[in-house]
Symmetry: C2
Subunit: 281 residues, 2 copies
């Protein structure tokens, strides 16, 4: 049981973590830190958090676990403030969708002042955003990737693992760079393609969307995701994303070649191979 | 009320059309023509069709409306047979996802023997296929595009429109070439991208799929579609698909440029504009 938990950023993920922690009795006291007084007031009124503040220093002081749940660029920017005010035995973790840079910033700060940090990424959420969308069951059955390094405190890794498991998550440990490559491929690339696909229709044939069926709707659902969150993710993971795009372009070019050549036999074989893999998911 | 309806191809679309026509009393007698005796026998046993045959000539003879519901290359290949045996006052229509070539083949045949043909494309279906997936409500609320030309018989267009409306569809009239461009954009392109995305992951990082969340699952659902159907569609609509890919590549390249340049302001603006359009669907 955590004595005092601070959640910085009360959007979909932070709000859901606070809500789940409250419902499941994971923390005795929960403090919310955010920019929007209305969401903070609502969380206090709901009883989801015990107190709330717009001041990071005030919110983080005297806390056992700090969960950073803002867009990733803001997580990076907040780390020095957290480092200044957090208790020496506090554990700091986050929910950012990119891990390499955040972990580097934390480890650089730890050189001058030791403080336990464990990078985290719950693979939950949706195209929805904001505290109004928070759900106590958001992390139930979700994969939560933690990215400790050799420099990480073993007790802190255990504490963060237990936190997510208590919220219903399935914890997996990955190296920060491998994490970024993997999510670049299965999350960031699909988001970028969905945005580009919607944009392609808008530019070339806006009236065509009137004929879109369920295939288009599903394929582009995530193009309704929060622009501020995805701006940060695309920029924060641009190297891995660029690598994913190389693989994607190669795969697309191969299919196009078979189509242009009218090679029905090889095209059907390729689609069949891909379908079988997709059905196996 | 149709006196006698022939459905050629008893897969998801043909099977659902037969089932819906039976349930809604749209046709007095329904004949199924297919290649697979087991599906045919099952449809007869279910009472969905009155009789079934693997012989197109036998099945189509004496019929008022012929609905061609096979993969598109097979529709093209079947048209000369249908033309040979169909009654002079029969109406022939189809469910093919590409229309330009099918309509051309039909109009070429009509030069030597007049017979009413109306191209059709119900925008229904899913990544599922086969008679086992057929549903009586598949076309309820679905857009059904019909592609008559100046050469089309007005009575036949009315008959086919009423058929789909009786099955719950919303009929829209489009020029065959415009149809192919529109569905190339909102259906064929998303399918090709979904196949390529799955393939990119398989080639570069197969273990990454273990970390895929709902975004990846939704974006690639249609990559589990039938390879034979999609081989025909991609090949049959390759020109329009190639045009869609030009628009897609331009949209993707613009987003990539903003990411590579680290232009957070313009990137967020672009994502915001795309999101607003997607939310408006």
């Amino acid at each position: 049981m955590i004595r005092r938990l601070a959640v910085v950023g009360l959007g979909l993920l932070g709000g859901s973590a606070a809500l789940a922690a409250r419902r499941r009795g994971v923390a005795r006291e929960i403090v919310a830190i955010g920019r929007r007084p209305d969401a903070l007031a609502r969380a206090v009124a709901d009883g989801v958090v015990d107190r709330a503040t717009v001041d990071v220093g005030e919110g983080v002081r005297g806390v056992d676990v700090v969960l950073l749940a803002t867009p990733v660029a803001t997580i990076e920017a907040l780390l020095p403030d957290v480092w200044r005010v957090a208790d020496p035995d506090a554990t700091v973790t986050d929910v950012g969708s990119t891990k390499g840079r955040i972990v580097s910033v934390a480890e650089a700060l730890a050189v001058s002042r030791p403080l336990a940090f464990v990078g985290g990424h719950p693979m939950a959420g949706s195209e929805q955003s904001g505290y109004g969308q928070a759900r106590a069951d958001l992390f139930v059955g979700a994969t939560v990737i933690l990215t400790p390094t050799e420099a990480s405190d073993a007790g802190a890794v255990k504490r963060v693992s237990e936190f997510w498991q208590a919220l219903g998550g399935r914890v997996v440990i990955l190296d920060p760079e491998l994490h970024d490559r993997v999510v670049g491929m299965v999350s960031h690339l699909p988001h970028l393609l969905a945005f580009a696909l919607v944009d392609a229709v808008l530019r070339s044939d806006p009236a065509a969307v009137g004929f879109a069926g369920r295939g288009f709707a599903d394929t582009t659902r995530i193009a309704a995701s929060d622009p501020r969150i995805w701006r940060d993710i695309f920029l924060g993971n641009r190297e891995a994303l660029a690598q994913s795009l190389v693989a994607f372009r190669a795969a697309l070019a191969d299919l196009e070649r078979l189509i242009a050549a009218g090679d029905a036999f090889r095209l059907e074989a390729a689609l069949g191979r891909i379908r079988a893999a997709r059905q196996g998911l």
